[in-house]
Each structure stands twice: as C-alpha cells, then as structure tokens.
C-alpha cells in the first residue's frame, strides 16, 4: 500500500517533470512568434524585474550587512578582518547573490505570474485568445518566460552590488576596517570570469529559466478553480525553491 502510494508520487513527479520539459520545448518553439508581441515582453520585464527591485535591493543590503558582521566576528579570532571584503564578495557573487535573488524572484514574481496565468485560465481568457486565433503560448506564456530569463540576472547583479555595499557599510563604516584594504583585497581576489560571469550571471540565467518555466507551467496547467490557482501558486514556490538549490549544487560542482 505504502509502496503503491510512493510509486504514485514518484510517477506523478516524473510525469510533471516530463510535461514541464515538453512545455519548455513548446515555449521555445513559440518564442520567434512572440517577438511580434515585443511590447508585451517589455511590459513583463518591467513587471517581474523593475517591480522586484525594492525587495531585491533591500534583501541584498541586509544579507551583505549580516554577512559582514558575522565574518568580522569570526575573522577577528584569527586576526584576519582585512579579508572581510573578500569573503563577503566571494560568498555573495558565487552563492548568495544568484541563489537568494532566485528565491526572492520565485516568491515575488513567480507566484504572481502563476496566479495571473491561472486566473486567465479560470476565467476563459486563454480560451478566448485561442478563439480569436491568437496563440496564448506566444502571446502570454513566452513573453513572461523571456521576461524572467532576462530580469533575473539583472536583479542578481543589483543584489550583489547592494550586498557588497552592505558588507562595506558594516565592515568599514561601522566596524572600522580600512577602506583601501576592504576594496583592494576584494579586487585582488575576485575573478571576473569565475566569480562574476560564472558565479552571478550564468547561475542566475539558469535559475531564471527554471523559475520562469515552473511559474508559467504551473499557471498554464492549473485546474480552473480558486483552489487550483492557490495550489499552483504554492507549488511554484516549493518547486522553484527545491529546483534552485538542487541546480545550484549541480552548477557549482561543474563550475568550481
């Protein structure tokens, strides 16, 4: 009995992953057609990107500040507080920046995309587009998917900048680390290719694909009921969070 239930869960999960993969292929095929709806894509970039700036900047600042505080505390044991800037920067660029931004993005933008598409499904708006010979994959789904893929790396860059600023604020302004030491150690250690391009941009690009795909997939396939939309929104956060952290490990093991 238990085995059968577990089998069902496994089969259901694999079916969902398979369906999600096929949905990605459908979106990719629709992207050229979605270019004629360029304004819609720009509008979505504004909605999921610019509208997420406040939460990303605020969280980036506090993550950097708490990181600076903790590292100063630990490094002072070894007399290595001058390395605070370096460790803050590397921790943020390689891991915290892309991962936390993606988690915030899933919570802020992913859920709203899922709920919006789910409600469009529940109120027959997607069917109405089909009846007006407008492909909802090209008009609704692809622009939101593209917007997430474009916006997330940009948000991750902003998060990282705010994080380093937060680390500087605590380390230099508050705790008295020398300003020149903070920056020079950081710039001497941080590698543009390994830490910025691979660490921030590549990872957040991959997370952008995964989170956006999960968000639009959950919205598009949601049962057309209020309960269905609620579940789909929750699943977006849960599935995105697991996918981000698992993918982060896989990417890091290849990139490190």
């Amino acid at each position: 009995m238990t085995t059968a239930r577990n089998d069902n869960v496994v089969v259901r999960s694999l079916t969902q992953i398979g369906a999600c993969g096929l949905f990605l292929l459908t979106i990719l095929a629709a992207i050229p057609r979605s270019f004629r709806h360029g304004r819609e894509t720009v509008r979505q970039i504004w909605f999921v990107g610019a509208m997420s700036l406040t939460i990303v900047m605020t969280c980036g600042l506090f993550v950097g500040m708490v990181l600076g505080l903790q590292l100063y505390d630990v490094l002072s044991i070894f007399g290595g507080t001058s390395a605070t800037g370096t460790v803050v920067a590397i921790a943020i660029y390689r891991e915290l920046g892309p991962v936390v931004t993606a988690l915030l993005f899933a919570g802020r933008a992913g859920t709203s995309v899922t709920a919006e598409i789910g409600l469009m499904r529940a109120t027959d708006q997607l069917d109405a587009m089909e009846m007006m010979a407008v492909d909802p994959i090209a008009y609704v789904i692809a622009p939101r998917f593209l917007a997430g893929v474009v916006a997330l790396p940009l948000l991750a860059v902003v998060f990282c900048a705010m994080g380093v600023f937060g680390g500087h604020l605590v380390g230099v302004t508050w705790l008295g680390i020398d300003n020149g030491t903070f920056w020079s150690n950081m710039t001497a250690t941080v590698d543009v290719h390994k830490d910025i391009i691979d660490g921030v941009l590549l990872k957040s690009f991959a997370f952008g694909i995964v989170v956006s795909l999960i968000a639009v997939f959950q919205g598009y396939t949601t049962p057309p009921t209020s309960e269905g939309v609620a579940y789909a929104t929750t699943r977006t956060v849960v599935a995105s969070s697991i996918a981000i952290l698992a993918l982060d490990f896989v990417l890091t093991s290849f990139l490190i």
Binding site: L119, M120, T123, D124, Q125, D127, A128, M129, E130, M131, M132, A133, V134, D135, Y139
Partner: protein
Amino acid sequence: MTDDAIVRVRGLTTVLNGKTIFDNLDLDIPRGKVTAIMGPSGTGKTTLLKHITGQMRGDAGTIEVDGENVPSLSREKLFELRERIGYLFQNSALLTDFDVFENVAFPLRQHTELPEELIRNIVLNKLEAVGLRGAARLSPTELSGGMARRVALARAIVFDPALILYDEPFVGLDPISLNQVLLLIRTLNHTLGITSVLVAHELAAVQKVADHVYLIANGKVVAQGAPATLASDGSPWTAQFFGGKIDGPVPFQYPAGDYATALGFPGGKA
C-alpha cells in the same frame, strides 16, 4: 438536412469521463440563418460549440465548417478558420489587462496592420452597436455581467465573421439590452448574411430571432423545426422541455443509487 450548410456534423460521438455526451449526432447549420440549439442543462450544448470551433475533439464523427473537417485541421489551419468565426463566451472572457476599447480592438491589432484611426472607428462602431461606446475606457472589472456580455459581443463581431457562435447570449441582460442584442443578431444576419448559432434556454427570445431550432437531449437531436411551432409539435421531448415538466423523457435527477438506501433506511433497494 440542408444542402447549403456552413456547419455539417455527422456521426459525432463523444464520451467524457465515462458519460456519453454525443451519441452519433447529426446536425446541419444552414448558411445565412439564425439557428438555436436548446436542451436541458448538462446536455452538451456548449460542448457542441467547442467541437465546432476545434477546442474539443470527439471520439468519432466529422464536423465540417465551411467545407473543412475541423478535427483533422492542423493548428495553423484551425487558427485561419477561427479568424472567420466569432465566439461569445458564456462568461464573456474579457481580457482583464485591457479596457473595454482595447478588448474589442484586440483581434484587429493581432491580425491586421490597420491604421490606428481606422481601428478606432471600427471599435467605436461596434461599441455603439451594443450601446457601450461611452464605456470604452472602463475596465472589465467595472462592468456589470450584462455589460461585459455586450462588450464580448462587440469583440466577437469586430471582424464581421462568416459564423458567430453565441453561448448563452441572453443571460443577465435586462429587457432593454436583451431586445438590443436580439435586434443586433437579426441585423447582422440580415445585412451581412452572417450565420448565427445560439445556445440558449429562453424560448421567447429564441422565437424572436431564430429561423431554426434544434432540441438536443441524451446525446442526440430529439426535435427540430421552426421556433414558432416546435413547442407544440406533440413530441414528449418538446412537451417536457418547453412545458418545464419534471416528468418526461429527460430525467430531472442526475443518475444516482436508491434514495432510501442512501439515507440509511432499511428495506431500500440493494
């Protein structure tokens, strides 16, 4: 059966979740006429419209629309066909991102490169026809159910399609709006020769506008004819449906087990 039919349904059989919706259904929609499809709730009237537009596919049978067999059409061909079909949804299905004007303009913007001035004139013309030109800049959330339906109607006719499918067009309309919509359906039919298919329950409204009525029940056409005479054709189906009787060939109760047994009384049927 009609020689010049814009929609020709033959042998349509559809089973959904074990329930037979259509059982070898044959039906013709004559070109240039107003045809009403009536029947008890849950009998598959909206499902039939969805088959005609290719939103759903049956298990067997053919559905020809303007000479093309809908179930066998590719997605591209289906979209080309749908550009010639207007569809009024039961719940209006207005796009909530746009105001009333942009909802009506949406099909024009998607499928044409018309100059803005011409789009504006066409949209205002359609909104004037449904009496809502003054509501052009309202959001769909600011409209009553009846107003939303009239906006959806304006959107459905914005291309002056060859065929318009109305799913419950009279629900939620006040008597003035109802007469306006009836007049509009008739005018579109008379002046532009647009074929109309109505799914409706309101016999009085149907009698004013329809040329032909199909009564569907148990997956088949059980009666058909002119609306003025159909109600009194003597068939038990029409007598029950138009007379609003509980007893008759159409079961009022959804299929269920023995009532006494369900209530836990002894002696119920096993």
